[in-house]
Amino acid sequence: MTTWTDYLLTDSPSSRRQARLGQMYRKWLAFRRNPLAMVGLCIIVALLLVAAFAPLIATADPLAQNLDRRLLPPSGTNVFGTDSLGRDIFSRIVYGTRVTLVIVLLVVVSVGPIGLLIGATSGYLGGWVDRALMRMTDVFMAFPRLVLALAFVAALGPGLENAVIAIAITAWPPYARVARAETLIIRQQDYIAAIRLQGASQWRIVWKHVVPLCLPSLIVRTTLDMAGVILIAAGLGFLGLGAQPPIPEWGAMISAGREQIFDQWWVATFPGIAICIVALGFNLLGDGLRDVMDAR
């Protein structure tokens, strides 16, 4: 045990890998000191575990209807009660973690690289390319995200894929902004000038040297943004424009419980709590990562 920490914390690392691992370990130590961030990390890890082992955790089939057991209050067999089609709400929430994760992952995978590329290109090349691209982000950011996403879903038609596309279209501009701001600082550095003098192409400089340095602030930005993505996805689901029934999407589940809110409160309440916890987890994690990863 001590040998490992010695290896990681040494002042004179003997290899690049050791230095890099040592740096990561130090960051982890700093991160661990922040209790709120650790709570966030635990929530996200729990989310991943629940999604992975959903069939083991769920007490019933999330799609199995049982009209004899409609709208039952929380009890021993149905921990969170049943909905208007007699489905077990706890099991639906458990399976809903998968839907949430799919949405989040798809948005990250599509938005991150696009925002990064546009921002880094814009910042590195400057001139009219920069002006044109930044004007474009201005226009998109002039729109409220939810309203723009709504308009896109209205055009594309409701559904999980279209909701993801709409969210992605509205989500990239802030990423481009962050990447551009980072690039503007990085490109002034001497080592970039050195690489340029060695004859590296502009693409090589952007991809190999600028982009990797933008990553930390983008990761922070992404984590903080995930809560927003989850809330917008839930909002679209709530309006019936996101995942379609019978998919156990949390926003749609709240919408389904809306009519019975005064008599059967549990139908809408528990999915909402699930959304809150997961969004809070991403927010806490992002907050902690920001403190560790970019000190500025």
Binding site: L36, I254, R258, F262
Partner: protein, 354 residues
């Protein structure tokens, strides 16, 4: 004896100030023009990608080919895309957003009718957000790193994590159904429905103008919950920004000077530091106002509030594209307007830019 050294703080002449302002104004105008152009481009693009055939929507499914073709030409869909866009822009600027299929009014008339309700909601929401958020942020800054700061941080993070439509439902469940403190969904109770003649469109003011205080109370009881729910959304953002501005201000030397002069801590914080922190806060309040307009889309759906948000979602669910795009465009334009206004206001309250 006259001093040869000019004072370092030279007052700008009137001409200089006017020239600077003209320069700033022209730059702002170009920005706004480009943004509005982009806005129109996006709504036009959305209108083009919809799978619904706009011609069929007019002539019906069983139209003869000749009728179909005539309608297509009438709608201008045979022209090249850039010409269609030019026509669209021309129409928008003459105040023609088309006709809503759902209400069979023009979209402009519809929006004029529903917008005051949203304005009422978002304004009170922002007010609540400021009244709670600013003190919270100031306290967090003063007790930086100690428990009040942690509490403020947790409240802020919760504010960023709660879906507004769920919060609205929970509010209705608790304050309306269980406690009976507030009126239910809608803008007015059944007894007061359509009794007040709209003057400003803002129910409470109209009722007060008529001197009907029962109606004012009723309107208030319906307004207070949705506005508070919206306000909670902005508390997180406003308090967080207030905190960071106040931390900057409290490190300034004038704060030390004020303390050395023996002013009470209350006066130092709330008069001296707060005064300066307020300058950047203007922009923050404007931004949160815009976010509340966005939040009103979902909140209005929950509270059956007859505003722009509900109009938008209603049209959406009925595939009433003219209304959707018109509403989107208006919200976008309001965003740009508020942004511009906050920019100007920020410059006005900041003595350094004078």
């Amino acid at each position: 004896m006259t001093s040869v050294v000019e004072s370092p703080v030279r007052r700008r002449s009137w001409g200089e100030t006017a020239g600077r302002w003209a320069k700033i104004a022209s730059r702002e105008l170009v920005t706004v023009a480009i943004t509005i152009f982009g806005l129109l481009l996006i709504t036009f693009f959305i209108a083009r990608v919809i799978p619904i055939d706009p011609v069929l929507a007019v002539v019906g499914d069983n139209a003869r080919p000749e009728t179909y073709e005539a309608a297509r030409i009438e709608l201008g869909l045979d022209k090249p895309l850039w010409q269609q866009f030019a026509i669209y822009v021309g129409k928008v600027f003459t105040g023609d957003l088309g006709r809503s299929v759902l209400t069979s009014n023009t979209v402009v008339d519809d929006i004029k009718r529903v917008f005051p309700a949203t304005l009422e909601l978002a304004t009170l929401g922002t007010l609540i957000g400021c009244l709670l958020g600013i003190p919270l942020g100031v306290v967090a800054a003063v007790y930086q790193g100690r428990w009040p700061d942690q509490v403020a941080r947790i409240i802020g993070l919760f504010g960023y994590s709660i879906p507004v439509f769920w919060l609205g439902l929970m509010g209705l469940l608790l304050f309306y159904a269980k406690l009976g403190w507030v009126g239910g969904p809608g803008r007015a109770g059944v007894a007061f429905q359509d009794l007040i003649t709209p003057v400003t469109g803002i129910l409470m003011i109209d009722a007060a103008l008529e001197g009907d205080w029962d109606a004012v109370r009723d309107a208030w009881s319906h307004l207070v919950l949705p506005a508070s729910v919206l306000g909670m959304l902005s508390v997180a953002y406003i308090s967080r920004m207030t905190r960071s501005f106040m931390i900057t201000e409290l490190q300034q030397q004038y704060v030390i000077a004020a303390r050395v002069k023996g002013l009470s801590e209350f006066r130092v914080v709330w008069r001296h530091a707060m005064h300066n922190a307020f300058v950047p806060l203007v922009t923050v309040i404007a931004v949160s106002y815009m976010h509340l307009l966005e939040g009103s889309v979902l909140t209005e759906t929950i509270f059956a509030w007859p505003g722009l948000g509900r109009y938008l979602t209603n049209s959406l669910l009925n595939a009433d594209m003219n209304a959707v795009l018109g509403g989107t465009l208006v919200i976008g334009a309001v965003f740009i307007g508020v942004n511009l206004l906050s920019d100007i206001l920020g410059r006005l309250v900041d003595p350094r830019t004078r």
